[in-house]
């Protein structure tokens, strides 16, 4: 049973960044802006927040108030992601530039900027920003010392503050999207901006809001990914921003479906890394480096599912088209 708890715990851990970033993509695309820059936004969020955690660690503030420090780092990740996404919003909303062009530029800029800044701060060649140990929530520091058994292991095997925050953010996103005026207006701008404008909705403002929310979620997702990856921040997020786009499409641009899609993808990813210790999985003894078979698994499974569910897939109608007030 321990292995099952470990797998579920790791699945949740890796589903969190996908969930956050895919939700971010959803807000942006629902407002009509294709946000391909999520990868870059994640990098910036992770960069700023890991630098902050490092500073907290050095100053002694972090070890003294660990979860408060993490909370501040989460906010910093979100705000820096938001700030960075302003570049995308400005280019694609005000300048009406091609949204993939702006996004691609931002994706290129972020990791390069991260390397240069990391070098400048940590000295040449030190390309990894380490995550301090106190960031993790253990059973002991949660006041549940001695908690044993399946659920304790499931919860505390690898718990970071980002996990509960992500679950809350998902609930909030779902609420905003479907139960508030803002959500309705946002969605209308992604479907038919001209109609939205004709009833007095400020399309530019709605799209700015969509992109900024996606910047916030993307930034937090960047931190969540770095925590999950566990080896510190190395100026990249291993393509998770793009994977999150796939998760978003797989989740049909709907919060709950996105959560399911993120769990699904993360589960197949984790199966790969645990393949050696799961008894009933084939271990391909006669094939060398068979871990690659399992590394491919999540991508192949997602492909198959995308093909099978493609009939139901429905993208926001006006996404990718710059809104021009003059055009009818």
């Amino acid at each position: 049973m321990n292995i099952l708890a470990d797998i579920l715990s790791a699945t949740l851990l890796f589903a969190v960044p996908l969930l956050l970033v895919a939700l971010g993509g959803m807000f942006s695309e629902r407002s009509g802006i294709i946000n391909i820059a999520l990868e870059g936004i994640m990098v910036i969020g992770a960069l700023i927040s890991t630098l902050l955690l490092r500073a907290f660690d050095l100053s002694g503030f972090g070890p003294a108030n660990p979860q408060l420090a993490v909370l501040i780092a989460v906010l910093a990740a979100g705000l820096s992601g938001m700030l960075y996404s302003l570049l995308l919003a400005f280019a694609s909303i005000n300048l009406k530039a091609d949204q993939t062009i702006g996004g691609t530029a931002l994706n290129m800029l972020a990791p390069a900027f991260a390397v240069v800044l990391t070098w400048a701060i940590q000295g040449q060649g030190n390309t990894t920003i380490l995550i301090p140990g106190w960031v993790r929530i253990t059973a002991e520091n949660a006041g549940l010392a001695g908690a044993e058994g399946f659920f304790a292991r499931l919860v505390f095997k690898s718990l970071y503050l980002t996990t509960p925050i992500a679950l809350v953010l998902m609930a909030v996103s779902s609420f905003i999207m479907y139960k508030t005026r803002l959500g309705l207006r946002l969605r209308s701008c992604g479907e038919h901006p001209q109609a939205a404008d004709s009833v007095g909705i400020n399309v530019y403002r709605m799209r700015y809001i969509g992109v900024l929310i996606s910047g916030f979620l993307g930034g937090v997702g960047g931190l969540a990914f770095t925590l999950a990856a566990g080896s510190g921040f190395q100026s990249q997020v291993a393509g998770y921003g793009f994977l999150a786009l796939a998760v978003m499409i797989f989740g049909n641009w709907k919060p709950l479906n996105i959560f399911g899609a993120a769990l699904f993808f993360a589960f197949f990813k984790i199966i790969g890394s645990y393949s050696g210790s799961i008894p009933f999985l084939p271990d391909f003894k006669e094939i060398r480096s068979s871990e690659y078979i399992y590394l491919m698994l999540p991508y192949i499974v997602t492909m198959i599912v995308l093909i099978l569910t493609s009939k139901k897939s429905r993208a926001p109608k006006a996404e990718g088209i710059p809104y021009d007030k003059g055009a009818r």
Binding site: I36, L87, A91, L95, K96, A97, D98, T100, I101, G102, T104, A105, L106, M108, L109, P111, A112, F113, V115, V116, W119, A120, Q124, A238, G239, F242, L243, L245, A246, I249, I287, R288, S289, S290, Y292, I293, L295, M296, Y299, I300, T302, M303, L306, I307, S310, S313, A315
Partner: protein, 375 residues
Amino acid sequence: MKKRATMPKGALNLTASLVSILAGLLVGFILLMIFNFDKALYGFGNIVLTGLRTPDRVAKVLYTAAPLLMTGLSVGFAFKTGLFNIGASGQYTVGAVLALVGAILWQLPWYACILLGMIGGAVWGAIPGICKALFNVNEVITSIMFNWIGLFSANLFLYNSPRMLANAWGAINKDRTAALDKANPSAILPKLGMDKAMGSNYMNISIFIAIIAAFVMWYVLQKTTFGYELKACGYNRNASRYAGINDKRNIVLSMVIAGALSGLGGALYYLSGTGQFTMGKQLLSMGFNGIPIALLAASHPLGTILSALFIGYIQVGGEALQPEFAKEIIDIIIAAIIYLSAFSLLMRELILRGRSRRRQAEEEKSRQAADTVEE
């Protein structure tokens, strides 16, 4: 609006690109000054001059530009036909590995290996194309998935083909493919004596093959019915179908051609005999670099030649930045150039709009004058 016709579109695009290149370089210079003020001018000099300093550096620029040109063409061609081929990296990888299989396992000459590389890339491009055409799955997502599937299958295959690896050919490395000069010298791209003339091992015919490919793509897109149909599908899929164009077939063909171009890029790079394919868990950046190159050239095949040469040039310059600066400053410059090209597009529009408005106002005035005279 009449003014637009007097200034050719190509010249406008070129001016726009040049303005953003200059602005991007300025951003780079400012960054250098922020990080190390004393060495900034020296570093900037390295970026803009290294590529021409010695014949060897010139050769390195051409060697770097050839695969960049191919992936740039691949992305640009897909753009022209309304598709975003973000899968150039996977197609490049599969093309490279298949070309190396031809070279090392099957001991084929270089031209056959190049063909294999194109086939590998074409197959890897075809799958997202088929998914898009038949199942309407977004090609961006499928291409991303197939980048990873391509990388991991390449690794899996190479680890299970001991004869492909360097340690089967007298080296100790187990994590990369064999050096071609040991495994099969006939698979190395011909150098036609240019390597001796330029004193550089990097010089071979790859850049010329890539330039020929660019001209072929330009011809196909601009001068053939087939190219016209592909572009029509890109502009409006439904209208094209209404006009009797087989849109599904064209989408698949676009991706097949884009994939073949990327695969050719992979083949050219690894058949140069100077680099060995190393198994890693990171996607090869060469494929992603094709995106800015295509964007800088506004997807025009001939413009892509210039932008690939330029990006190759400053990348070689970037290598000379170290150890004083991180060579990633080059990536920042390229990103700034791409981002700024959005601004220059706007500036262009503003200039044109301003002109046409002034013209309208003048016409209005003269008409009013004419009216008053009639009264």
